[in-house]
């Protein structure tokens, strides 16, 4: 049981490349923290620094009230689940789970109790004598989990543990991980590039980009009030529609200070097809380009003819002038049709022109 606190953590490689540019995160005891961001944003590096697999070149990492910067991974009392599971291929499932306990000189009888308990929880009891190569991907994943939980560490670290599984298994394992973590109540840090995993697992969500933290907070709070255009387009699928406020059509509808903000963001789910304009809201005219029906809902891709001012927002950036509308059911306008969509005032997100600051008007 421990807090994990990162204070102005930095990582600069010998070549001068700055992978982590000063990160501050505070994960409370028993909380589930998810680091999310596009590939190359430094999330895995940060996790490996917490594990002690990468050196820290600046700042402090604090686990349970103790700065661990110079401490060996073995002495940090952490357990890690790797993306490729990193099972010991020459050891049976039992020995894979027992290895960490044996290294710490635990009596064999207790090792047996702990491993069998973990195997029972993870439904691995029947395969304790098998070698990793005789297991399926999902089973290997569970062995990796078992290896972490038998140790009863202060902190669990997960490095994209589900990305090698197929979509269906990923969802069920995601739920399993969350249930297990709740039950064991062990502080966890989880790295993923999948925003859905991030949203569903996290108590605290850390959105990273280019070695920096873009926003930290409760996942729903981040969804409702993204701090930057990066977060706005990264969290939520399909991504938020972003457009310049400087165009006459939008500027006149927003009016006043809001019209001067720079960038307007509207989530696809907040747009409705209607001929009316809600007071204080924004209405847009679109030509329907494409329709995606996924059963319960339909995505309408439309373009605004007059929008020529490109608003940059990586990743998942929409082509300039393209707007996605998410509507329930399967009823959708025809391709090529001209429609009007609108969003109410309190569903509008405003950002400064560079996308770095959220503006509340």
């Amino acid at each position: 049981m421990a807090n994990v606190t990162l204070r102005n953590v930095r990582k600069t490689y010998s070549g001068g490349f700055e992978a982590i540019k000063g990160v501050n995160v505070d994960v409370g005891d028993g909380q589930f923290c998810v680091l999310v961001g596009p590939s190359g944003c430094g999330k895995s590096t940060l996790l490996r620094m917490v594990a002690g697999l990468e050196t820290v070149t600046g700042g402090e990492i604090d686990i349970g009230g103790k700065v661990v910067n110079g401490i060996e991974p073995a002495d940090r009392d952490i357990a890690m689940v790797f993306q490729n599971y990193a099972l010991y291929p020459h050891m049976s499932v039992f020995n894979n789970m027992a290895y960490g306990l044996r290294n710490r000189g635990m009596p064999e009888a207790e090792i047996k109790t702990r491993v069998e308990e973990a195997a029972r929880v993870l439904e691995l009891s029947a395969m304790l004598e098998r070698k990793p190569r005789q297991l399926s991907g999902g089973q290997r994943q569970r062995v990796a989990m078992g290896r972490a939980i038998v140790r009863q560490p202060k902190v669990f670290l997960f490095d994209e543990p589900l990305s090698n599984l197929d979509a269906k298994l990923r969802i069920s394992m995601r739920v399993e991980i969350r249930k297990l973590q709740r039950r064991l109540n062990v502080t966890s840090i989880y790295v993923t590039h999948d925003q859905l995993e991030a949203m569903t697992l996290a108590d605290i969500l850390v959105v990273m980009n280019g070695g920096q933290v873009e926003q930290v907070g409760n996942p729903l709070a981040i969804y409702e009030k993204p701090a930057t255009t990066f977060v706005a387009s990264f969290i939520g699928a399909p991504p938020m529609n972003l457009m310049s406020t400087r165009q006459d059509e939008i500027k006149s509808q927003l009016g006043g200070a809001a019209g001067e903000a720079g960038i307007l963001g509207i989530r696809p789910e907040d747009l409705v097809i209607t001929d009316q304009t809600p007071s204080g809201g924004v209405a847009l005219s679109l030509t329907v380009d494409a329709i995606e029906r996924v059963g319960a809902e339909t995505f309408v891709y439309g373009s605004r003819a007059q929008d020529e001012q490109r608003v940059a927002a990586t990743p998942g950036e929409l082509p300039p002038g393209e707007v996605i509308v998410r509507i329930p059911g399967t009823e959708a306008p025809a391709i090529g049709a001209r429609i009007r969509v609108a969003a109410v005032r309190n569903k509008l997100h405003l950002f400064s022109g560079d996308g770095r600051t959220r503006i509340e008007v």
Partner: protein, 293 residues
């Protein structure tokens, strides 16, 4: 699974493998067959008459105590060369596997000795350890060791083993390096997090995962020590002093080309041939299984 190629003509596939088959038959099977035939023949001292003697050459060989001494000596040499070159190479590979500055240069330099021909290796070591000329001999004598491999059989044997092992280190190093590179880094990281210190990590994770490589190299090194040390022995000691550095292969050469006893020499070759077939058989069985863990 390899797909089967489909040929229109039935003759074409045979024609395509014919050159390879011809080479194998003419240059490998034909001489081998000659050796087998020769091993059943006995020539008189002047090479004027030859008679077929069935297994007499073999029987004579097995009744000869010197032959058994050579067998034991060869096995001892092989064991000593294989273990020393394997352990030194493994140590070097483990150290070179670490992220070092200039690691590529270090690794390349360690591979160079493999390019040195065995007789040259022999000459090199002879000069370094020559009783009157050698650089190292002077230090040994200064340390109070009576060093003269030209007279002392054990010292001569040590010298041959050293030189032969030294030459093989590069080869083993290369394979160990590849073997180490094939071990996923994350497995070692997991072991580190699991509380295993570097030494324990090596013996419980790295070493078992290297075991297929180690086994493969063990067979290769034994074969090397059996057959390829001829050049080293010939330039360093010519089997002497006495017969203290005569191995099975050197004895084939000595008895046949120097002693003129072609029948016995051929019989010895056939025995060596059987040994190498057995060794290769063992190797293929394990290599095909790929993993031994």
């Amino acid at each position: 699974m390899q797909k089967q190629a489909i040929f229109q003509s039935k003759l074409l596939p045979y024609a395509l493998v014919a050159p390879q088959l011809a080479i194998v038959l003419i240059f490998f099977y034909w001489p081998a067959l000659q050796a087998v035939i020769q091993s059943f023949l006995l020539q008189d001292a002047f090479g004027l008459s030859t008679s077929f003697v069935w297994f007499e050459n073999y029987l004579e060989l097995f009744s000869e105590p010197a032959y058994f001494e050579t067998v034991v000596r060869t096995f001892f040499f092989s064991f000593a060369i294989a273990t020393s070159s394997l352990s030194v190479a493994l140590l070097l590979a483990v150290m070179a596997d670490k992220p070092l500055r200039g690691g590529a240069v270090y690794r390349t330099l360690l591979i160079w000795p493999y390019a040195v021909a065995p007789p040259v290796v022999g000459v090199l070591w002879v000069f370094m350890l020559h009783p009157s000329l050698g650089v190292l001999s002077r230090y040994l004598r200064a340390a109070g060791i009576e060093w003269n491999p030209l007279l002392d059989g054990n010292q001569a044997a040590t010298l041959v083993i050293l030189a032969a092992a030294w030459k093989q280190i590069s080869y083993n190093f290369l394979f160990f390096l590849a073997g180490l590179a094939a071990i996923p880094k994350s497995v070692l990281e997991a072991a580190a997090i699991d509380g295993a210190r570097p030494m324990r990590r090596f013996w419980t994770v790295t070493f078992p995962l290297l075991s297929p490589t180690i086994f493969f190299l063990l067979v290769v090194n034994i074969v090397y020590a059996f057959f390829d040390t001829f050049g080293i022995i010939d330039t360093m000691t010519r089997g002497g002093p006495g017969t203290s550095t005569v191995t099975l292969v050197y004895k084939v050469y000595n008895d046949g080309l120097i002693g003129g006893n072609l029948g016995s020499s051929a019989a010895q070759s056939v025995i060596l041939m059987i040994m190498v077939i057995v060794l290769t058989g063992i190797q293929f069985r394990f290599v095909e299984r790929k993993v031994t863990y």
